[in-house]
Protein backbone atom coordinates (compact mmCIF):
# COMPACT_ATOMS: atom_id res chain seq x y z
CA UNK A 1 0.00 0.00 0.00
CA UNK A 2 1.03 3.59 -0.49
CA UNK A 3 2.17 5.79 2.36
CA UNK A 4 3.32 9.37 2.61
CA UNK A 5 5.80 10.64 5.16
CA UNK A 6 6.25 14.28 6.04
CA UNK A 7 8.60 15.72 8.63
CA UNK A 8 9.10 17.36 10.99
CA UNK A 9 5.70 17.59 12.62
CA UNK A 10 6.44 20.92 14.29
CA UNK A 11 9.13 23.49 13.71
CA UNK A 12 9.99 26.82 15.29
CA UNK A 13 12.42 28.90 13.30
CA UNK A 14 13.74 32.47 13.68
CA UNK A 15 13.10 35.07 11.02
CA UNK A 16 15.80 34.98 8.37
CA UNK A 17 16.72 31.34 8.91
CA UNK A 18 16.53 28.74 6.13
CA UNK A 19 13.83 26.09 5.82
CA UNK A 20 13.74 22.57 4.48
CA UNK A 21 10.66 20.37 4.74
CA UNK A 22 10.80 16.91 3.27
CA UNK A 23 8.09 14.64 1.97
CA UNK A 24 8.45 11.11 0.64
CA UNK A 25 5.95 8.70 -0.84
CA UNK A 26 6.24 4.94 -0.75
CA UNK A 27 4.47 2.25 -2.70
CA UNK A 28 3.88 4.07 -5.95
CA UNK A 29 5.85 5.48 -8.84
CA UNK A 30 5.63 8.76 -10.74
CA UNK A 31 3.05 10.31 -8.44
CA UNK A 32 1.81 13.86 -8.73
CA UNK A 33 3.15 15.72 -5.71
CA UNK A 34 1.83 18.85 -4.04
CA UNK A 35 2.74 21.32 -1.31
CA UNK A 36 -0.10 23.21 0.32
CA UNK A 37 -0.15 25.80 3.07
CA UNK A 38 -3.05 26.27 5.44
CA UNK A 39 -3.52 29.38 7.54
CA UNK A 40 -5.76 29.23 10.61
CA UNK A 41 -9.43 29.16 9.66
CA UNK A 42 -8.65 29.00 5.97
CA UNK A 43 -8.64 26.47 3.21
CA UNK A 44 -5.63 24.87 1.59
CA UNK A 45 -3.58 27.12 -0.63
CA UNK A 46 -1.61 25.32 -3.31
CA UNK A 47 2.04 26.37 -3.31
CA UNK A 48 3.75 23.96 -5.72
CA UNK A 49 2.97 20.87 -7.68
CA UNK A 50 5.08 18.43 -9.63
CA UNK A 51 4.17 15.86 -12.25
CA UNK A 52 7.68 14.39 -12.54
CA UNK A 53 11.31 14.58 -11.45
CA UNK A 54 12.66 18.10 -11.85
CA UNK A 55 9.26 19.43 -12.97
CA UNK A 56 7.98 22.06 -10.55
CA UNK A 57 5.11 24.45 -11.06
CA UNK A 58 4.56 27.36 -8.72
CA UNK A 59 1.08 28.62 -8.07
CA UNK A 60 1.84 31.53 -5.78
CA UNK A 61 4.97 33.71 -6.05
CA UNK A 62 6.56 33.96 -2.62
CA UNK A 63 9.53 33.33 -0.42
CA UNK A 64 9.50 29.58 -0.97
CA UNK A 65 10.81 27.11 -3.51
CA UNK A 66 10.33 23.43 -4.14
CA UNK A 67 12.44 20.67 -5.61
CA UNK A 68 11.90 17.07 -6.63
CA UNK A 69 15.31 15.42 -6.69
CA UNK A 70 13.87 11.90 -6.82
CA UNK A 71 10.63 10.44 -8.12
CA UNK A 72 9.02 10.12 -4.69
CA UNK A 73 10.71 12.96 -2.84
CA UNK A 74 9.41 16.50 -2.65
CA UNK A 75 11.20 19.24 -0.72
CA UNK A 76 9.96 22.67 0.29
CA UNK A 77 12.65 25.23 0.99
CA UNK A 78 13.30 28.82 1.86
CA UNK A 79 16.57 30.71 2.08
CA UNK A 80 15.26 33.28 4.57
CA UNK A 81 12.02 32.80 6.44
CA UNK A 82 9.57 35.62 7.02
CA UNK A 83 7.02 35.91 9.81
CA UNK A 84 4.31 35.49 7.19
CA UNK A 85 5.66 32.03 6.32
CA UNK A 86 4.16 30.66 9.53
CA UNK A 87 1.43 28.12 8.92
CA UNK A 88 0.52 24.48 8.52
CA UNK A 89 2.29 22.91 5.55
CA UNK A 90 0.87 19.83 3.92
CA UNK A 91 2.39 17.53 1.36
CA UNK A 92 0.12 15.39 -0.78
CA UNK A 93 0.26 12.97 -3.67
CA UNK A 94 -2.16 11.71 -6.25
CA UNK A 95 -2.04 9.35 -9.17
CA UNK A 96 -3.63 10.33 -12.42
CA UNK A 97 -5.92 13.18 -13.23
CA UNK A 98 -9.22 12.49 -11.57
CA UNK A 99 -8.26 10.75 -8.38
CA UNK A 100 -8.19 11.84 -4.79
CA UNK A 101 -5.14 13.30 -3.12
CA UNK A 102 -3.51 11.65 -0.11
CA UNK A 103 -2.07 13.94 2.51
CA UNK A 104 0.76 13.72 4.97
CA UNK A 105 0.28 14.65 8.59
CA UNK A 106 1.53 18.19 8.07
CA UNK A 107 4.23 20.43 9.54
CA UNK A 108 3.29 23.22 11.89
CA UNK A 109 5.83 25.99 11.18
CA UNK A 110 6.12 28.95 13.50
CA UNK A 111 8.48 31.73 12.50
CA UNK A 112 9.50 33.88 15.46
Amino acid sequence: SQTIHQWPATLVQPVGSPLSLECTVEGTSNPNLYWYRQAAGRGLQLLFYSVGIGQISSEVPQNLSASRPQDRQFILSSKKLLLSDSGFYLCAWSYGQNTEAFFGQGTRLTVV
Partner: protein
Protein backbone atom coordinates in the same frame (compact mmCIF):
# COMPACT_ATOMS: atom_id res chain seq x y z
CA UNK B 1 -7.77 32.99 -4.96
CA UNK B 2 -10.04 30.07 -4.17
CA UNK B 3 -12.25 28.70 -6.87
CA UNK B 4 -14.22 26.54 -4.44
CA UNK B 5 -16.16 28.26 -1.67
CA UNK B 6 -18.34 27.15 1.22
CA UNK B 7 -21.53 28.81 2.41
CA UNK B 8 -21.15 28.33 6.17
CA UNK B 9 -17.93 28.38 8.15
CA UNK B 10 -19.43 26.58 11.20
CA UNK B 11 -22.21 24.02 11.58
CA UNK B 12 -23.39 22.83 15.00
CA UNK B 13 -25.59 19.76 15.30
CA UNK B 14 -26.81 17.38 17.97
CA UNK B 15 -25.54 13.83 18.04
CA UNK B 16 -27.84 11.64 15.99
CA UNK B 17 -29.04 14.43 13.71
CA UNK B 18 -28.29 14.53 10.02
CA UNK B 19 -25.74 17.11 8.85
CA UNK B 20 -25.65 18.88 5.52
CA UNK B 21 -22.57 20.77 4.42
CA UNK B 22 -22.81 22.87 1.28
CA UNK B 23 -20.25 23.97 -1.26
CA UNK B 24 -20.29 26.16 -4.36
CA UNK B 25 -17.75 25.85 -7.12
CA UNK B 26 -16.94 28.28 -9.87
CA UNK B 27 -15.28 26.28 -12.65
CA UNK B 28 -18.04 24.86 -14.83
CA UNK B 29 -15.45 22.68 -16.58
CA UNK B 30 -14.62 20.78 -13.38
CA UNK B 31 -15.54 17.12 -13.70
CA UNK B 32 -14.40 15.57 -10.46
CA UNK B 33 -15.20 16.59 -6.91
CA UNK B 34 -14.02 15.32 -3.57
CA UNK B 35 -14.99 15.81 0.05
CA UNK B 36 -12.24 15.70 2.66
CA UNK B 37 -12.38 15.57 6.45
CA UNK B 38 -9.66 17.24 8.46
CA UNK B 39 -9.29 16.61 12.16
CA UNK B 40 -7.38 19.07 14.28
CA UNK B 41 -3.65 19.01 13.65
CA UNK B 42 -3.87 16.40 10.92
CA UNK B 43 -3.89 16.29 7.16
CA UNK B 44 -7.20 16.03 5.26
CA UNK B 45 -8.57 12.57 4.61
CA UNK B 46 -10.69 11.47 1.68
CA UNK B 47 -14.36 10.86 2.46
CA UNK B 48 -16.17 10.49 -0.84
CA UNK B 49 -15.91 11.64 -4.42
CA UNK B 50 -18.25 12.18 -7.35
CA UNK B 51 -17.74 12.62 -11.06
CA UNK B 52 -19.66 15.05 -13.16
CA UNK B 53 -21.61 12.32 -14.95
CA UNK B 54 -23.38 11.56 -11.66
CA UNK B 55 -25.65 13.64 -9.44
CA UNK B 56 -25.58 11.47 -6.34
CA UNK B 57 -23.23 9.04 -4.70
CA UNK B 58 -23.59 7.23 -1.40
CA UNK B 59 -21.06 5.85 1.02
CA UNK B 60 -21.24 4.65 4.56
CA UNK B 61 -23.41 7.26 6.34
CA UNK B 62 -22.40 9.88 3.78
CA UNK B 63 -24.03 11.05 0.57
CA UNK B 64 -22.72 13.58 -1.90
CA UNK B 65 -25.07 15.46 -4.20
CA UNK B 66 -23.93 17.36 -7.26
CA UNK B 67 -26.01 19.99 -9.03
CA UNK B 68 -24.09 21.06 -12.10
CA UNK B 69 -26.75 23.53 -13.17
CA UNK B 70 -26.10 25.78 -10.20
CA UNK B 71 -22.56 24.51 -9.54
CA UNK B 72 -23.41 23.28 -6.08
CA UNK B 73 -22.14 20.34 -4.08
CA UNK B 74 -23.35 19.03 -0.74
CA UNK B 75 -22.25 16.44 1.77
CA UNK B 76 -24.87 14.76 3.90
CA UNK B 77 -23.85 12.87 7.01
CA UNK B 78 -26.50 10.61 8.52
CA UNK B 79 -26.79 10.08 12.28
CA UNK B 80 -23.92 12.42 13.05
CA UNK B 81 -21.57 11.22 15.76
CA UNK B 82 -19.09 13.10 17.98
CA UNK B 83 -16.28 11.54 15.95
CA UNK B 84 -17.58 13.40 12.91
CA UNK B 85 -16.51 16.71 14.45
CA UNK B 86 -13.89 18.12 12.09
CA UNK B 87 -13.42 20.61 9.27
CA UNK B 88 -14.86 19.47 5.97
CA UNK B 89 -13.52 20.67 2.64
CA UNK B 90 -14.87 20.22 -0.81
CA UNK B 91 -12.36 20.23 -3.62
CA UNK B 92 -12.53 20.23 -7.39
CA UNK B 93 -9.82 18.69 -9.51
CA UNK B 94 -9.45 21.33 -12.14
CA UNK B 95 -8.14 24.88 -12.10
CA UNK B 96 -9.54 27.64 -14.32
CA UNK B 97 -6.40 27.16 -16.40
CA UNK B 98 -7.31 23.53 -17.02
CA UNK B 99 -4.70 21.83 -14.84
CA UNK B 100 -5.85 18.81 -12.81
CA UNK B 101 -4.97 20.01 -9.37
CA UNK B 102 -7.02 19.56 -6.20
CA UNK B 103 -8.36 23.03 -5.45
CA UNK B 104 -9.89 23.58 -2.04
CA UNK B 105 -12.45 25.89 -0.54
CA UNK B 106 -12.34 27.52 2.87
CA UNK B 107 -13.88 24.65 4.81
CA UNK B 108 -16.80 24.15 7.20
CA UNK B 109 -16.22 23.32 10.83
CA UNK B 110 -18.72 20.69 11.99
CA UNK B 111 -19.34 20.60 15.74
CA UNK B 112 -21.33 17.68 17.10
CA UNK B 113 -22.85 18.12 20.54
CA UNK B 114 -23.49 14.97 22.60
Amino acid sequence: GESVGLHLPTLSVQEGDNSIINCAYSNSASDYFIWYKQESGKGPQFIIDIRSNMDKRQGQRVTVLLNKTVKHLSLQIAATQPGDSAVYFCAENKTPGGSYIPTFGRGTSLIVHP
